[in-house]
């Protein structure tokens, strides 16, 4: 069964086609990396999958269900989670509360003004589990804006996963990190449960090829190549698009 | 929540200091002065008129030598911005903080409604209106008196009949500011004019403080004999500007406020179009009675930089203050016993004001002489209101038959 299926999707901004008949299939449990130079349409693809951007044409299926007309909230409730290139956290809230909200957001109900205690305890337990999964247990009491860049990125991953996400979109999880932090974040992704499908945009080729089961290369809004690491590495178009930069690594 | 208590305590402390400070000031006053609070306007469009109101009070105090029957008069002035909220805040301060026994003011209709309403909560204080001329303002408020000059409908007494009989006008369109005083000024004219046999096919109401009247002008019917304008200072000027810019040439009749000092002394020339226009008011610049002449003389002497003639503000505040002082003198300044003696004296008083005798009716509302006027050129290019006719004993009931004026009442299409 496919976890995510994007078929023949076109997105236009004004007159410009940001995505042109793009298709992408990701099976359940797969680690899929999206590559491409700046402006290729990678982040637009993520915005599209989450529902922040609506396509001019094409269909998006999540676990077989057509979600093209579903709102962001509805898609998230169906198990979708994402991070952003610049970490987006709830800056003035405590790290712990960031996670509690992440857990709650997915499991609903939408408005619990006075929540039952057991459920509250359950939420906290799941929040801390997510926190410990990214080794942020020590900073639970801090405000999110006080975190270092790397910590914020980890927090975001934890938030995307919290509450039982089944498909997560990670937008450049390693960008702006030190070598040590990169290692740490790779380990976090490696350690994710195989029941979770992970789609990653990544510029760092080492990390990309390390984690990828399959890759898709975007260029100027089109799919240039798609397949397992060896095939993508070998594809002539890809070499051309990148002008040989870094692909040999 | 840690800081909340500290914030509140800090505030309470500041408050305490200010409260004790004012108490000290209070106990420092000596003797048994009569404390009188005055409310007039010192902000916004009517600030110039409001300042004249304070002048009228000062003239009255000076005239009685600053004391009545041995009691020094202590005047406490507060300025407003011509709105109810500010008038209310200021009158509360005068009554509850400064402990005045008598309030003179305020100066405009909306303020008058708010202050009369407040008077119900302060039965021990006597309120004497400034020149606030809302209709029925003194009704049901046994501690509210209004000598000068009754309500806005009374201010135009005589004008409707004069328009019909002397000017020969049969059909009139009206344009008025869309608020209580505008209704009163239109209502007063319309009720008298209708009674005389005239017709008012169209009444236009425009928002108070409207800037551009260009699109109102085409709405004025061209088949009437005259247009009656009841617009405040700046509104009147804006209306006339728009009217003449479109080449209009109707005959105008103007309400009191349309040709008052603030319009006649505005910096511009549009008001020259008002020369020869009939109007009515409780006073007229060229009044030929000795009391008026000496009042004008005193005003010009004290306030050379004031208006060319004392405005309705100066005259009205002066008259109300002098009526209060005269009644106080009759009871030897005795304000004890819930001011009963003082109020009885006010009720029975007939005061010879600069504009003629003035007293109050059973509802404590002024009965006075009104004047039909005509706007004329005065010396040095100024404009003034010349007397055409006097209308004695103008009473509120004459106009209030059938209830307070509204945009649709009275009417005779």
């Amino acid at each position: 069964m496919l976890a995510l299926e994007v078929s023949n999707v076109t997105v236009r901004y004004g007159g410009v086609e940001a995505l042109n008949r793009v298709s992408l299939s990701v099976s359940e449990g797969e680690r899929h990396v999206v590559l491409g130079p700046n402006g290729a349409g990678k982040t637009t693809l993520f915005n599209l999958i989450l529902g922040e951007v609506r396509p001019a044409a094409g269909v998006i299926r999540l676990h077989g269900e057509d979600v093209t007309r579903r709102s962001v909230v509805q898609r998230v409730r169906r198990g979708l989670g994402r991070t952003y290139q610049q970490p987006e956290v709830l800056a003035r809230l405590r790290v712990e509360d960031n996670l509690i909200l992440a857990v709650r957001g997915r499991i609903g109900p939408r408005f619990t003004v006075f929540s039952k205690r057991e459920r509250d305890r359950d939420t906290r337990k799941r929040a801390f589990a997510a926190l410990n999964a990214v080794a942020l247990g020590g900073v639970a009491e801090r405000r999110a804006h006080e975190l270092a860049h790397g910590q914020a990125k980890q927090l975001e991953i934890a938030m995307a996963l919290a509450g039982g996400a089944r498909v997560v979109l990670l937008d450049e999880p390693a960008s702006g990190l030190s070598a040590g932090e990169r290692k740490q974040i790779t380990a976090v992704i490696d350690g994710l449960d195989r029941s979770v499908t992970v789609i990653v945009i990544e510029h760092d080729m080492d990390i990309a090829f390390h984690i990828a089961d399959r890759l898709t290369v975007l260029h100027q809004g089109r799919v240039l190549a798609c397949g397992d690491p060896e095939r993508v590495r070998a594809a002539a178009e890809v070499r051309e698009a990148y002008l040989g930069s870094g692909l040999d690594g | 929540m840690s800081r909340s208590s500290e914030i509140i305590s800090a505030a309470l402390l500041a408050l305490f200091m200010s409260a004790t400070a004012s108490n000290v000031a209070l106990s420092a006053a000596a003797g048994t002065p009569i404390r009188i609070g005055v409310l007039s306007v010192n902000q916004g469009p009517a600030a110039a008129g409001g300042a004249d109101g304070f002048r009228g009070i000062a003239m009255a105090v000076k005239e009685v030598g600053g004391a009545i029957a041995g009691h020094p008069i202590k005047i406490i002035e507060e300025g407003t911005d011509q709105t109810g909220p500010t008038a209310l805040a200021k009158v509360r301060k005068l009554v509850e903080q400064d402990h005045v026994q008598i309030v003179i003011g305020p100066g405009s209709g909306d303020e008058g409604i708010a202050v009369s309403n407040y008077a119900d909560r302060q039965p021990g204080v006597t309120f004497i209106a400034g020149i606030a001329a809302g209709e029925a303002e003194t009704y049901h408020h046994p501690n509210v008196f209004r000598f000068a000059y009754g309500d806005g409908a009374q201010w135009v007494a005589g004008l409707g009949r004069y328009a019909y009989s002397t000017l020969g006008v049969r059909k009139v369109a009206t344009i008025g500011d869309n608020y209580s005083f505008g209704y009163a000024q239109v209502g007063g004219f319309v009720s008298e004019f209708c009674q005389a046999g005239g017709h008012v096919p169209k009444e236009l109401w425009t928002p108070l403080g409207a800037t551009d009247y260009s699109s109102v002008v085409p709405q004025i019917p061209s088949d009437t004999d005259a247009v009656y304008i009841a617009l405040n200072g700046a509104d009147a000027i804006n209306f006339l500007t728009a009217y003449y810019a479109q080449g209009g040439h109707a005959k105008f009749i103007a309400s009191s406020i349309t040709v008052d000092e603030s319009v006649l002394s505005a910096k511009g020339s549009i008001q020259n179009h008002l020369v020869g226009v009939a109007s009515a008011a409780p006073l007229a610049d060229t009044l030929e009675i000795p009391a008026w002449n000496s009042f004008v003389k005193a005003y010009k002497q004290h306030y050379p930089s004031g208006f060319a003639y004392p405005s309705v503000w100066a005259t009205g505040y002066y008259t109300n203050a002098m009526a209060a002082f005269t009644a106080l003198a009759k009871v030897n300044g005795d304000l004890s016993g819930h001011q009963q003696a003082f109020r009885a004296a006010l009720q029975s008083l007939t005061y010879q004001s600069p504009t003629g005798p003035i007293s109050v009716d059973g509802n404590r509302n002024g009965v006075f002489t009104n004047y039909v006027t005509s706007t004329q050129h005065g010396p040095n290019g100024t404009l003034l209101n010349a007397v055409v006719k006097s209308v004695p004993n103008v009473r509120e009931e004459t106009f209030l038959r059938g209830g307070v004026a509204t945009p649709t009442h009275p009417a005779c299409p």
């Binding site: - | 425009t206 928002p207 403080g209 409207a210 260009s214 085409p218 200072g233 700046a234 080449g247 505005a266």
Partner: protein, 287 residues
Amino acid sequence: MEEFALTTLNGVAMAALYFLVAAGFSLIFGVMRIVNMAHGSLFLLGGYLGWSVAALTHSWLLAIVAAGAATAALGLMLQQGLLRHYQGQELTEALITIAVSIVIADLLVATYGGLSYQIPAPVPLGHSIRIPGTALRYSSYSLALIGVALATGLALWLFLERTIWGVVLRAGIDDRQMVAVLGLNIQRIFALVFAIGAGLAGMAGVLDGTLLSLVPGVDSSYLVAALAAVIVGGMGSLEGSAVGALVVGMATEFGIGYFPSYAEALTFAVMAVVLVVRPTGLLGKAR
């Protein structure tokens, strides 16, 4: 029919005045994200200054130049002296301009009192003229006012579209970071924009003082009108201010002409409808 035509013409004339106020307000908002609540005060101040200059020199042209220059200078002082230190703190900036507007309004009452002031129109524009081809007579000054607004709008448009300053400014409206990254002196641009906006307000004050009259209170009327115009038209765009001013001008004139007691409410009803249909204003870009 004649009534309708006149009201429409009045709407355009009023829109001309509103445009001059709204354009500066919108420009300042677009470039700096400052809601200049003192814009109305600068307008009234310009009007009064214009009256004083006209009374002294008997020159209407000098009055408008002096008022524009003085309010531009004051705007520059306001921006450099107070607002510059709080860039990006939108609420703080709005609050500062509110405080300044309270002070200016009060000092104007102290100086000029509450009387109405009218500035005599320049002699050739003091009369009404027949509109060619119709039986309508219309104020030549109002027609000139429409011309002034068109010329100003055109000048602003040329400035924004055809000069290097304008290119930088538009870039600044779209993306302020980018301008900074390009190494352009954004501070000088901010100062210039504030001066232009304030100067326009001051000149509009003189134009209003000639068309109608100046009196305490018109400062907030015109601020509110400018606010409505930029919300309707779309914030931060010159074309938006023009369209917004036209809508508000028409609503004002048709309101007072046909539903006078609801005149002001009508303007805002129109605004609410626009907000529902297009939250970013008629010509506003999606945010």
